[in-house]
Amino acid sequence: MSTPATQGSPAQPTPRRGAATTEGGTRHTPALRHRGLTFRGPLRLAGLLGGLALACGVALTATSGWLIVQASSRPPVLSLLVAIVAVRTFGIARPLFRYWERLRSHDAALAELAAARVDTYRRLIPLTPARLGRRARSDVLSAAVKDLDDEVEAQVRVVVPLVASLFAGLVAIAYAASVHLPAAAAITALVLLLAGIVWLLARLEDSSQREGLEARAQAHRVAALVTTNAHELQAIGAGGDTDVWLDQAHERVRRAASRQGLIRALAAALMLVCIAGATAGIALLVEPSVGTTLSRPVAALLLLIPLALGEITAPLPEAMGALARSRAAAARLQGLVTQEPAVAQASAPDRSFAQLGTNARGERAQLGENAGGGTRQLAESALREGSPDPSFAHLGTNAPGGVPRLELRGVSAGWVPGRTDIGPIDLVIEPGDHVALVGPNGAGKSTLLAVLARHLDPSGGAYLIDGEPADARPLEVTRAAYAIVDDEPHLFTSTVRENLRLARPEASDAEIEQALDAAGLRAWRTHLRAGLETMLGEGNTGVSGGERARIAIARALLSQRPVLLLDEPVAHLDHPTAEAVLADLFAASAGRTVVMVSHREEGTQYCGRIVPIGGRLEEAGPSADGGGR
């Protein structure tokens, strides 16, 4: 039995048109720099502080050695005072510098993260939803958030230790050069060797980590498959049959871990061997000059330097792991955000960004005081965002009067540029029509819906709205006529009220309650602990799948948008619940145009027209989904 194919995985974003999938992203958007590892102001200071801390550590070991050897020759105690003070200073300075460095580097990384988040979000908007993969978009998005964290985290975990170690190494070389050149040469050789090992490790980590990540992702997929389908597996008596898949995935994980462990183990051992070699080298080089050109205590000091350097470079292999992780994360993120938007005339007017940028900066000063402020305010402000947007106000309220006529003339479309998933299709949807698009999974129903929603531009043919070519109208105006309900409705961590009002910010409580009732949530609403003030989100505990679908429908109804586009809205619901949800939905949407995509029979009885899409399995195979690699 083979392992479940990767095509079932959370969809991969479609690659950019004609560009390399990873690093070359900056070519498209020169203004947006590849973050990766940067080495700028605050971080430079942090690296320097870290270097001082490490240098203090080396100096501490070395001067202690000097002091003891000097003391053993029983000089007047006073003559030791300078060294004693030095040892104390180094001992106290090391933790202080380290503390300072950690504050600075973490602060810099968090500030970088804040900027990177706004930047990434802005770049994701025009790619949403068509370029976020076809299914499990929220997984793709969660992964992007995690990748962004990993990428920025590398600033602290990689740059600072590297810079600090290098600085400490240079200080050690400089000191040694001032007392004994051959020893300095030995230390230089050691620093170069260690740097070489670290560099080599960084190279190897890239591939070994990719292997490990892929293996773990596959194991997670199998585990998630078994966990979510435990009941279905038991039902057919297949309780133990999935073991094979899990074993295969786990074998891969173990092999990858072993390989990665071996590489790091060899690096750690090699570094120790280099330190041993340097110690021996210095002992042999220094021995002839002890007592003549070189004082005994200084000889002791020189001999202890490699050991001290060994201590400070020990964390570097770990840092190289973080570097590889961050590079992989950055490459994935770049692959995602540098895609071409799937629609022309992206909905990102530059003007508003300039404003927003200054806002964010202007507010920074006051933030210090109310940072700990109530979580409730945060949650509300997260969605409310002041007054309703004037440009949407008129669209929203005017809409029911002007239900548009939608027409597709010989339209073909594909998710990946250059490939046609559907078409050519002719379809006219008169105002107020209730249309069901049916057909097997993968036949292109959702693709068609994406074209109607102006999430995806057709690759051929014409899409006319009220007789006017769709791409001649402003994207925001077109989209503002459509309310979309898909199979993964998101509930924000906020109140019930804010979760609904995002669909129409000027809606009153009475209108919100009306929308909830129309979506079949009357009983649910009246049982809420704090009414519309009740908090949702946080994994949406206490909200069933059916209720989630209904909340999304209530949103769509509240929006008063004249066209409802339903993309498998009940895909995850059981049959009776699905029937009930759809009955309520269609009852509440008289007068509006409804286009529903479904691969099941439910709800089709409410549709005046049933349009079969595709159906030839040869074309609708799993690989035609755009999800596979």
Binding site: T3, P4, A5, I68, L103, G237, A382, P622, D625
Partner: protein
Amino acid sequence: MKPFDPRLVREHPKARPAVLLLGGLGVLSGIATVVQVFAVARLVTRLVDGGGIAGPLSWALGAFAARAALSALTEWYAARAGAAVSTSLRAALLASWLRRGADERPERTTALTLATQGTSAVEPYVAKYLPTLVQAAVLPPLVVACMFAVDWVSGLIAVLTLPLLPFFAALIGATTRDETAKRWETLSRLSGHFLDVVRGLPTLVGYGRAEKQLSTIGTVSEKHRVATMRTLRLAFMSSAALELLATLSVAIVAVAVGLRLAHGHMELLPGLTAILLAPEAYWPIRRVGAEFHNAADGAEALTTVLDELAATPPDHVDLAQLTPKSAPEGVSRDKSTSPEPGSVSVADVSYAYPGASGPALEGFSADFTSGLTAVTGPSGAGKTTLLDLIAGLRVPSTGTVSRPSGRVHLVTQTPFIAAASVADNLRLGDGRDATDDQLWAALDRVGLRELVASRPERLGMPLGDGGFGLSAGQRARLALARAILADPDVLLLDEPTAHLDPASAGLAHDIIRELAADRTVIAVTHRSELVDAADAVVTVPARKAVTA
């Protein structure tokens, strides 16, 4: 959170060699470290006082080599052990869930997290944290003993100051705990905000609200930075305090040695050895604190996984028949009350979902004999629950279910179809030993032979997740083909044709009738055609108390 949960070793035999070997390697590298310190001290002494350095140098090199080998071994073995323990925990967890009834499994999202990230978090816990823990347990006592042997004054200082480290760590932890806990909620809310608005991006874009979020994200990230830095400052300050404490302790040893050296009360060699030994006693303790912080997720996940594995409910469902190897025997099966062989009887059965306000099924009785029985009733009456109870996937709250001792096969509303080949999917369950010919025969019977035969991969034809690429009717027929291969004594079908168009439904109904010829088939259905074709009809009444 405990630093080490002994249940890992006690109850999970696969973890035993890992922990033992890591412990052994820890002891050996501790010894190598001590030997290295002695050799280096002697090397320095010989270097400054004259005398051949060859002897101590070769000792030092030997010790270095041993340390290098041991640390490489530890690193490599720890990585392997981490993967081995975490994967075996995951396998054990999934196996345990598959043996339990629906109510004894944890809630879906909890289970998902535990089966994926949760068990993965155990990997760094074993690979990184455990070796450090071993070092912290081995090295300080070993080093202190050597210090006593070399110079008892230094040893005494170490014994007196070492306990201060954990003591102060605990003290700092206790004083900052409330503060940290107070901030935790704000912090997690702040850090969760970005994930929330990113995951909700399609919704926000749909309603034209996405760009409004940009300034909010900037604001919240800024708040997050400020709040995080407050928490971090505290953490960094306490770790700086501990480092200072360790440095001062080493300095006390050094001063004591230095003064005695300067006054001629001590030789260089023991003095230097004591001073070089001292830091080796302190750093493992500080490091274990730092690593524990990093491995906290893993430690917590480990505790949860072990709790979960230990939680075998006293009245757990016997799903022995569902695991391929064991002989069929069950608690909810009672042959003596079976009126005739092959028949299923349900007597006064009630069932309430955990946490539900009312029962899903109450005081229900029915007998199902050989042939096709259609089960009807209004939505939410508990028909699906009834099938789960008959299949033994749930235990009734009251009443008894008796069924024959053979195989039971339940085709759920959304049958499991993996992203694998047609053959793999058909061989899931009791049909796992079916030959290719049998697979073809089953496909032929459900009318899928042509479709599969037309593909170049034939039985290897790949299917997507959840049967992606197949129509609803094809998926339903595939599930029926699997039921045919399983050849069960009792076949349970939950809305087998609800999603199908009339033509597909007609074909499926014919197959169901054929299957009912020589076994008990119980089908929950809304379809009048299937009800008409049934030998008997059982109606599940609507629930009395209707809940929202």
